[in-house]
């Protein structure tokens, strides 16, 4: 019994050490932080128009209605493709989740200017798909 506990504890220790050491390189290499108010969480609901798995950062575009019912084009600055890859997200996996036409709720930190642009934290689609930031200024949990 005691040896089982020891083994479980050792396994937990190894997992914890691993998680602490295998950190994702997360810095935003184009001065992202300064463009956004990192205290202002913004949530926007709309329909995905486009997803680009491209350098320097992946981008999500969606259309949402404002309070007057007019369409507003939104965009989100996501992680760099190489960082997504290191975190286990292939391009095809993300393209599959973030298909144009799906309804989506996107969360992130808003532009300091009030423009409809956010640094990406999370997207949840109407069919249950979800993508979270894997590091950098947009990561919230």
């Amino acid at each position: 019994m005691r040896s089982k506990i020891v083994l479980k504890s050792m396994a937990a220790a190894i997992v914890i050490i691993g998680l602490l050491m295998i950190s994702v390189p997360a810095s935003a290499h184009h001065g992202t932080g300064i463009s956004y108010d990192l205290t202002k969480v913004v949530e926007s609901k709309g329909v995905i128009v486009s997803f680009a798995f491209r350098n320097p950062h992946a981008q999500l575009y969606w259309d949402a209605k404002d309070e007057k019912g007019e369409i507003v084009h939104w965009s989100a600055e996501m992680n760099a493709p190489s960082n997504f890859e290191r975190a286990g997200f292939s391009r095809s996996k993300l393209v599959e989740i973030l298909k144009p036409g799906l309804e989506v709720t996107v969360t992130g930190f808003g532009s300091r200017t009030g423009a409809p642009v956010i640094v990406f934290s999370k997207a949840v689609t109407s069919n249950g798909g979800e993508v979270k930031s894997i590091g950098g200024p947009g990561k919230i949990d």
Partner: protein
């Protein structure tokens, strides 16, 4: 007994985790770029003259405490509008050369992502993931050129002093920045780097920049420890090229509108 054992385990985990991250922070400078964990043995190097492997970069080799500028250096610094540091402006309003995919050059190539050292007889190469650029370092006894034509990555030669590799460089194109905070340099800049594999999995580096046109005395960087990345998919050098057409789309779709410069412009196609 069980509680005591768990306490020991927790203490061990904490010590191990902190010892790792502390060293990584020395190399990381808080800007990320480790690119993976480090599970390779931490003992003395098997061969201190073998520097090959994929290493973290972590924030670049220079510290953020440069010497005072010369008047010319001050002028050049104020002309640069970075998106980091006390003078940061949104990239949309800045002039970081990387915002239009101009070359990052060296030492800025070492700011992010891992790089690989490859040694062959008479030469050494450094290949950098960020912007997918490489640097050639001659080790065949030649001297630095007396009148170099400026290059983005400079011209470099190296020799061993005991177990320390001393790299000397000149001939740098003055259009690159030394740091993301916009520190400038002239084409008269020379550089001395000292590399030492202090452990099997740690490469200690130190850089000194001498540029009398820009700085009133040499800029001596602190010693930084770079971690060897363990074998596996996350220690491959990825091809993170800066592609001007992609950068332009990103600027129109995200960077410019985020900085208050124009509306969001959706790229014409979705990447597949």
């Amino acid at each position: 007994m069980r509680t005591r054992f768990m306490t020991v385990v927790i203490v061990m985990v904490t010590i191990l985790a902190f010892s790792s991250s502390t060293f990584a922070q020395r190399g990381g400078g808080g800007r990320g770029g480790r690119g993976g964990g480090n599970t390779t043995p931490a003992g003395p190097p098997k061969d201190p003259h073998d520097l090959q492997g994929i290493w973290s970069t972590g924030g670049g080799p220079l510290s953020n405490d440069p010497p005072p500028f010369t008047p010319e250096g001050e002028k050049r610094f104020l002309a640069n509008k970075p998106s980091y540091g006390p003078r940061a402006v949104p990239p949309a309003l800045g002039n970081d050369p990387l915002g239009i995919c101009d070359p990052n050059g060296y030492p800025r190539a070492m700011e992010l992502r891992p790089f690989e050292i490859i040694q062959i007889p008479g030469r050494m190469f450094e290949t950098f993931e960020w912007n997918y650029v490489w640097r050639e370092i001659w080790m065949d006894g030649r001297e630095l050129p007396k009148d170099p034509t400026p290059r983005w990555m400079g011209y470099s030669v190296a020799h061993w002093e005991g177990d320390t590799l001393v790299i000397l460089s000149n001939g740098f194109d003055d259009r690159t920045w030394l740091t993301q905070e916009g520190h400038p340099h002239s084409d008269q800049m020379t550089m001395e780097e000292r590399y030492r594999r202090v452990r099997e999995n740690v490469l200690e580096i130190q850089m000194t920049i001498t540029d009398p046109v820009t700085y009133t005395k040499p800029w001596v960087g602190e010693k930084k420890g770079l971690n060897l990345l363990p074998p596996g998919p996350n220690s491959e050098i990825r091809q993170e090229l800066c592609v001007p057409s992609e950068e332009a789309e990103f600027n129109k779709g995200v960077r410019d509108p985020a900085g208050g410069k124009g509306p969001v412009q959706v790229p014409p196609t979705t990447a597949k």
